[in-house]
């Protein structure tokens, strides 16, 4: 089936099988491999992206369901001149990553969290990121990074 999804401001159209997952469409059709596949069962959050402005798990959405929608991936956060998004900057400054595998999903979930709760408590951040797992267990600095970004 023919679908079209706007990804990071650019329309991407393709003829895909109905069973194509949104994360596949992003990685394989659009060639944007910043979005990772982790558990593949909507538990770990590594595949989190924004669909129409909100963080969702792209491994559990069919590309067909997102047809006509607008997606932002980790590649779409930084400015065109390379200036990092404040959340990316905060992760860097607070050492909010170790191996980095969960990081794109963490950053996308965290930016969505701040859209909902601009001034979160530490508890708000921990609960708000419950859908994202860090196998390095680096949660402390991730939470600090999100709080630092909120306080900027």
């Amino acid at each position: 089936m023919e679908i079209s999804i706007t990804i990071n401001g650019k329309a991407v159209s393709a003829d895909v099988e109905p069973r194509t997952l949104l994360v596949q469409f992003i990685r394989e059709t659009a060639g944007l491999t910043g979005t990772n596949i982790g558990c593949d069962t909507s538990s770990c959050g590594a595949c989190s992206i924004h669909l129409d402005g909100e963080a969702v798990k792209s491994c559990t959405i069919l590309a067909a369901q997102a047809d006509g929608g607008s997606v932002t991936t980790i590649e779409g956060l930084a400015s065109a001149d390379g200036t990092l998004h404040p959340m990316q900057q905060a992760f860097m400054e607070n050492h909010g990553l170790q191996c980095g595998y969960c990081t794109p999903g963490m950053v996308m979930a965290a930016t969505s969290l701040l859209n909902d709760i601009p001034n979160p408590s530490e508890e708000d951040v921990r609960i708000g990121l419950e859908g994202n797992l860090c196998r390095c267990t680096g949660y402390h600095n991730i939470v600090q990074a999100v709080l630092a970004c909120a306080n900027k």
Partner: protein, 274 residues
Amino acid sequence: MIPAAFDYVRASSAEEAINLIGQHGDEAKFLAGGHSLVPLMKLRLAQPSVLIDIGRVSDLSYIKDAGDHITIGALTRHRDVETSSIVNEHVPLLAHATSHVGDPQVRRRGTIGGSLAHADPASDLPATTLALGATYVAQGPNGSREIPASAFYSGYLTSVLAADEMLTEIRVPKMNGAGWSFQKFNRRAQDWAIVGVAAWRNGNEASVALVNMASVPVLATSVGAAIASGASIEDAAAQAAAEADPQADLNASVEYRQHLARVLTRRALEAASA
């Protein structure tokens, strides 16, 4: 993991969706938010040959105050239920239980009707709506019918919905200031409950329903009867597993689940009575 191949059709109204499922028969499934169905399809535990996407039927996404009850469109997403001022004011137990479904990303996609129709006894909302005395509305080719939550669940992942019926609305009585509590026991924040308890109490009237204590959500009628007859919370909670028929799994034995049901029911009744 990628699901087995299927045909995909999109419905723009409930009538069109019911018409489509009538054409495609038993091999077709409705796709709402997809957060129960798509994982099952990826694991090959479900292999429908046709998906009828009802996710764009926007007139089934609403929350309304209807006097003594509220009505929620079946395609209302969990996030909208969780944050609704109407639900928080009149049925706070449902708003709170909904905030425990999955995680924020899941709640932005999953729908109340999808969760109830999926009929997973380990999900939070079937038991919660059961405790609240909700009524579900199903639409089929010959019109609508009302199904009490207490008559909806017929077995594991199975309901009395006919193959060509879809859930369209959930009607939940207002709680009128009753005390309430939702207790969810799990290992990790986003997990399904090992055991969960949804409870409310208003004087000598109380209702308790159990998550993951049988192949269907369980109304703990013995607990309600004990409270009505003036029993202490401790004595009432001791009856919590009376109607249950739990299974053992990797997380818990039958005896442990029964124990959890009694402990969580006591905690829930204490909180609801405070």
